[in-house]
């Protein structure tokens, strides 16, 4: 049977198992929206295309599936670019469909025309423009495969209007290549044997994990591995939840705002086993001083990430899960036992560091933002899905909420996109309706996508927003305080809306806490209130994020803020 391009698109999405898409209509995608009207595909109408892209990203991170968004041509497409770049930097599987002017008009500067494949070439894993309706089904299949396989990433498919109107035969096409991402990128057994030898020789080993564990669905295997080798684990920002944060072997996050003990352990270790992380500059600090006494093993699915920033002693290109499974098998076969005595000395040293400088803050008259997050952790029993904006709110969330499960901490790590958290929370909540989803935000970043209040009210999406309101663009202010002589150039944003009234104006519930003893009751009430809730916390205006490693300094060189 012949179908119109728009029908083929919807049928292809349903055949891919897509249950929800996030989007915003426009002239170039009228035919597609007409089919959505007829078909049973759930579509969440956002209020800005950037919101659609972040929501699809949040959906993907929370569910582990490919997120999908649909927008029109020109400005609709360009509005998704920040969302696409965000997903690209964090390797999030996502397919973005953009409308395009009819093929005959392409290149003529037509109304609402933008060369979106050209614009997004550097921030997509791959992109397509479909010029012939006969290529449509195949291209969509390829797009989903590329987005989800190997090192995942966003894929954009540009759809000219006439292609959506033209007809072609539709049959579900076969997958792009035989073999799933799991069976590709298998590790080299010889190299893994070498890993075991290096573990046996090490006296002060550390495991460092990143987002690759979460994307590769390897958390169980990691836990198993750590239990066998008894090596302390630190994680990057993207690796939060990869290993239980409450486990005694967890060192928490490392890097610029990492824990004292994680940074000391990595600096002092003699073996660093890095799995699914890419040595971002915020993690390594001064490269020459990073784990400079250690042999470094790097297991990663992306060969291009190996020896890019840090030179390693043993590179292993592999899917994290396959590598860890194989290592666990080998450990069992070899009857591996931990060198208890030596390991104890190392763990004692780490305990000393933990005692010397635990994560903390000094309570005061004002509400401390860290206290808000600690209380949120207590009230949600650590079981919520947390999204963040970017800046201080993000770092405090990473430090003071303990995550025990993967896919529960959603943050823009690589690109650092303010305005990410709220729409991402929408995506996560739509993917997992029974979960408590909380966006930890600042008063600056929440305003970057605040229009999505209309979306959460529209669909009664019960996202809770915690605004740590300090009247500043806090992280930039902190840098101005430390490195620019307290000249707070354009970081004071005391001219902000009354968030309670604003939430109410949109039809959501708004709550406010002004004093420390109001924090718990407000959080409790907010979490217990059905539907979307905005909670505004007037926090200490000049509280800083500590520990802090000055940019370019070794990570052992920390300002503990005391």
């Amino acid at each position: 049977m012949k179908l119109k391009g728009a029908q083929i698109l919807i049928r292809s999405l349903l055949d891919e198992g897509v249950d929800t898409i996030f989007g915003y209509p426009g002239g170039a995608v009228l035919d597609v929206y007409d089919e959505i009207f007829k078909e049973k595909l759930k579509h969440i109408l956002v209020r800005h295309e950037q919101g659609a892209a972040h929501a699809a990203d949040g959906y993907a991170r929370a569910s582990g599936k490919v997120g999908v968004c649909l927008v029109t041509s020109g400005p609709g497409a360009t509005n998704t670019v920040t969302g696409i770049a965000t997903a690209y930097m964090d390797s999030i599987p996502m397919v973005v469909f953009t409308g395009q002017v009819p093929t005959a008009f392409i290149g003529s500067d037509a109304f609402q025309e933008a060369d979106i494949t050209g614009i997004t070439r550097p921030c997509t894993k791959h992109n397509f423009i479909v010029r012939n309706v006969n290529d449509l089904a195949r291209t969509i299949k390829d797009a989903f495969y590329i987005a989800g396989s190997g090192r995942p990433g966003p894929v954009l498919v540009d759809l000219p209007k006439d292609v959506m109107q033209a007809e072609a035969e539709y049959t579900e096409s076969a997958p792009l290549k035989p073999g799933s991402p799991d069976t590709m990128y298998v590790p080299d057994v010889e190299a893994l044997n070498h890993v075991l030898d290096m573990i046996k020789e090490a006296r002060k080993p550390v495991i460092m994990v990143g987002g690759g564990i979460i994307l590769g669905k390897a958390s169980d295997e990691l836990r198993d591995f750590v239990n066998k080798v008894r090596i302390p684990v630190t994680h990057t920002l993207m690796g939060i939840g990869a290993f239980p944060g409450t486990d005694p072997l967890s060192l928490g996050m490392l890097g610029m705002h990492g824990t004292y003990y994680a940074n000391m352990a990595v600096t002092d270790c003699d073996l660093l086993i890095t799995i699914g992380a890419r040595f971002d500059d915020r993690v390594t600090g001064k490269i020459d001083a990073f784990a400079s006494n250690a042999k470094i093993i790097h297991i990663d699915i992306d060969a291009a990430s190996i020896n890019k920033n840090v030179l390693v002693d043993l590179p292993i290109v592999s899917n994290c899960r396959s590598a860890l499974r194989q290592l666990n098998k080998m450990l069992e076969q070899n009857h591996f036992t931990t060198p208890e005595k030596e390991r104890k000395a190392w763990l004692d040293q780490i305990d000393e560091w933990k005692e010397y400088a635990p994560l903390g803050y000094s309570p005061g008259e004002n509400i401390k933002p860290q206290y808000v997050i600690e209380t949120l952790y207590k009230l949600t029993k650590g079981d919520a899905i947390i999204t963040t904006e970017v800046g201080q709110n993000q770092m405090w969330a990473a430090q003071f909420y303990k995550f025990n499960h993967p896919n529960t901490f959603l943050t823009s790590g690589g690109l650092g996109t303010m305005g990410y958290g709220f729409p991402a929370a929408i995506g996560a909540q739509v993917a997992l309706p029974d979960k408590v989803v909380v966006d930890i935000a600042g008063d600056g970043s929440i305003q970057m996508n605040i229009q999505e209040l209309a979306t959460v009210v529209n669909y009664n999406i019960p996202v809770k927003v915690v605004v740590l309101n300090n009247g500043f663009l806090g992280m930039v202010r902190q840098w101005q305080e430390l490195f620019y002589g307290k000249r707070y150039s354009h970081t004071g944003i005391s001219q902000i809306p009354d968030f309670v009234k604003l939430a109410e104006a949109y039809g959501a519930v708004g709550l406010r806490a002004m004093k420390p003893d109001e924090v718990e009751p407000v959080l409790k009430k907010g979490l217990d209130t059905p539907g979307p809730v905005f909670m505004d916390f007037a926090v200490d205006p000049e509280e800083g994020v500590y520990p802090m490693v000055n940019p370019g300094a070794p990570i052992s060189d920390m300002d503990l803020g005391r």
């Binding site: 494949t117 070439r121 550097p122 894993k125 791959h126 590329i146 291009a304 020896n307």
Partner: protein, 151 residues
Amino acid sequence: MIKLIVDNKPDVLARVAGIFSGRGFNIESITASITMDPGITKINIGTTGNSATVTKIQNQLKKLVDVRQVSRVRETKFGQREMALIRLNLTEKNKNKVEKAIEDLNCRVITRKSDYCVIEATGTEDEIEQVLKHLKPLGMEDMSRSGIVAL
């Protein structure tokens, strides 16, 4: 030099070039042409940088979906060639020297007018460098290089 085997698609050259520009690598020369299989294009790129840098470029290029094969070519067993077209001014004074140089350097004359000539030089990159070095003081007015092609 880096040799790429890629799908013959309209935007593949932009993708390849984007890896270089986006990551701060330099393209010294580039040739792209269709192969015996019309679906496949071969791209030869001359670049500079130490071995580690070139490996980084190769790894990034390998990630492109349309790129099938990336290899580093130092010297291929089938050889590599570059062509240069060179325009020389002819005067009574330099005429004989130019004639001799063309013969010594194994170049071919394509156009000859009373006051100028255009010659073609083909050889390895180094040989082309040598030819240019010799001809420059003899009244070289303009030249154009093809970039390297390799099998």
